[in-house]
Amino acid sequence: MEFLTVKDLSFRYPGSAEALSGFSFSAGRGEILLLCGEAGSGKSTLLRLLKRELRPKGTLSGSILFDGRPIEALSDREAASSVGYVMQNPEYQIVTDKVWHELAFGLENLGLPLDVIRRRVAETACYFGLEELFERPVSSLSGGQKQLLSLASVAVMRPSLLLLDEPTAQLDPISAAAFIEAVVRLSRELSITVLMAEHRTEEALPHADRLLALSAGRQLAFGETRRTLTEIGGCRGLIGELPAAVRLYARLGGTPPCPITPREGGLFLRERYDNRIRSLPEPPPPPDTGEALSLRDVFFRYGREQPDVLRGLTLQVREGEIFCLLGGNGSGKSTALSVAAGLLRPYAGQVRIFGRKLFPARAEPCRRGSVAMLPQDVTALFSAETVREELKERGETSLFFDREELLDRHPYDLSGGEQQLLALAKVLASEPRLLLLDEPTKGLDASARERLLSLLRRLRDNGVTVVAVTHDVEFAAEAADRCALLFRGELLSVGTPRRFFSENGYYTTAVCRMTRGYYDLAATVDDAEALCRANGRIGR
């Protein structure tokens, strides 16, 4: 008996074409159903149709059965408490100011007696390990803790269906993994059925019981995970969202079963492909150009009483390269970027941009025109009502913004990728020679990442040096000319992505994990594919 059954579901926004059509799928009690598709494929709309309170205006046809009953038959209280919904943004879905109050919020809405609220809040806090944070103000929590709190404050209402709309898109990999783990626990231990939409599925896919693939408002495939993966293997738009092992499998045109985890991917390689050729020829080192950015023995702290965030950071970025700075939370990589942008002044050490001191002894940092920085939250740059006005604020329409059709839209109506493009156009208006990026891939889907990648390469070819701070190892492996790892405000290692990631044991890409001990210097799916093709199938 299925717990959630959706039959022939179609939906149309008022006065526009069909947004969703022909969805039929189901999920059993306590199963995890992963929704996979590009931005704008209708994942959010689909999830919102299943949550009555958030249902968009429009006409809906088809049926949604919740535990055997049509979802419309649920009472308001039942609908609110038994279907939980967690959204993408950790900041904004929190309603109250304290952790305990956020946990109590849903129960307060139901008007439960205070004793019941106390007990449920307490046990939920225990289950999610939030006791330490119980009386803390929400603003003091990290992004990962906030998102976990959002999950807990939904779980406290004892839902039997959990809808998660890209819950880890804004989190760093460690917090994302912890979040997914909590979700998996809820489904396995408490038999909560989970529908989760995700862009990056490396973490989530191995736990999914079923997979629903959608594209442009249509259902592409639905069914048991591995079988469905084989079905959608050829779909271009979707493949970028899937784990490295699946991508490699699809590229090489393998035969089922499809590998999902790095371990399975490694087995897949070893069983089918030879390794006489262990590594690809290395490209020649780039010609020695000047230094675009150099930090020497830079020390920084946020307050006199606070610890050093940068401890003697020394780092050189060559002119005309794409340089990725990696590191965990609190490693000081964002601080290093702000120092390079002249936003924070180090208390010791030297920062030079194209050979000139960034912080002359007395004057303000003078750097107009040579450096520009793209912030993590690009909406911090938007204040106008249309894209056109937004671009007007910073000189004429930028060369890099070639999307005429978007000019009359509101900046907040753009997709994440388009917003980033707009912000980049604004930032590039001053024609910087050094471009600093803070987590440029956060929240982007595969095709937006692809576009960003080609844009950065184009900039590099025009002589712009790019320094990106990122958690996204896959992106760094593909984009960077050189990568560096920061730990506790110090530089640990620098190198070309292939060398850098092959030498790292834990902080590395999925392909490196798969190929470890079999191939050398393979960091991306492209590398692995090339090696496999060069070696050929075993026994042929």
Binding site: Y85, K98, G111, A372
Partner: protein, 291 residues
């Protein structure tokens, strides 16, 4: 029993309001002095006052006392005449009394502000109106969020290559631009908050208001005691037994039986917060020394 500041917010509020009211309404010097002492003691016991605060309050005390004789020329005892206007001893004394009245409230409310953390304020508001409490709570959630975001917007604008504003006009323009960005950002993202509220059943029925604070017997005792101890003072004030006039000449301090009862009860009331607080501290130190 716990320290005063650990009591239920309602008990704290009732007790402090009861103690703050009489000196604001009556100019009886005994009441004023008692209230001033009580307020100061509570501040000192809780270490709620810095040296600078005490010094500036002393300054304020003198300053406020000076205002009255400038404007009021009533009174019999003329000390000196400035610009044909008499400065009288009575007016000066009335000035000190008014000053004491203002300062005693300042002291008590300083402690009140320090004790009433947002959780306690929400608990109090929630007793009156859960909906207003929710509004307060989310506004309190947004304040730190927005101020952090305002910093990020500023940094982002400077990172984009815009110069740091150097003239007042440029600063005003920059502040306006930042605020404009903030307004858009906060309103647009507020939809998410609203959805999150709706998703968790906001509006399905009558809300309750949870709190961290349990109402215990002792809290009831504090409230009851506060109200009982205010009663004699109230009666005294209403019946005129506590009346004290500064003009034209100082009247004698009322010393009837009801007045004495009022002094005694108000003295107890004024000292109660500080005493309870001290008791909590002493007990804690005692328990700790035995471990």
């Amino acid at each position: 029993m716990r320290a005063f500041s650990d009591c239920h917010p309602a008990a704290v509020a009732v007790c402090l309001l009861c103690a703050a009211l009489p000196p604001m309404v009556s100019m009886n010097p005994v009441l004023l002095l008692t209230a001033l002492t009580g307020g100061l003691l509570l501040l000192l016991v809780r270490r709620g006052a810095t040296g600078a605060f005490l010094l500036s309050s002393a300054g304020l005390f003198l300053l406020l006392a000076m205002i009255n004789p400038i404007f009021s020329h009533k009174g019999e005892t003329v000390l000196l005449v400035i610009n044909d206007r008499p400065i009288t001893a009575e007016a000066i004394l009335y000035g000190f009394a008014a000053s004491a009245s203002v300062l005693s409230a300042l002291f008590l409310f300083r402690s009140f502000t320090q004790i009433m953390t947002s959780d306690r304020l929400l608990c109090l508001t929630g007793m009156l109106s859960p909906k207003t409490a929710l509004l307060l709570s989310s506004a309190l959630r947004f304040v730190p969020l927005f101020s952090a975001q305002a910093g990020r917007v500023r940094a982002a604008r400077r990172g984009m290559g815009l110069a740091r504003p150097d003239s007042p006009a440029a600063r005003f323009r920059e502040n306006t631009a930042v605020l404009s960005t903030m307004v858009t950002w906060s309103l647009e993202n507020g939809i998410v908050t609203a959805d999150s509220m709706a998703a968790r059943g906001y509006g399905v029925g009558k809300r309750t208001q949870a709190g961290l604070f349990r109402f215990r017997r002792a809290d009831g005792a504090v409230i009851l005691l506060s109200l009982l101890l205010t009663l004699p003072t109230l009666v005294g004030m209403m019946s005129g037994q506590l009346a004290y006039s500064y003009y034209p000449a100082l009247s004698g301090i009322p010393l009837s039986l009801p007045a004495a009862a009022a002094y005694l009860s108000f003295g107890l009331l004024s000292l109660m917060p500080a005493a309870l607080e001290l008791r909590g501290i002493v007990k804690w130190n005692f328990l700790q020394s035995r471990i």
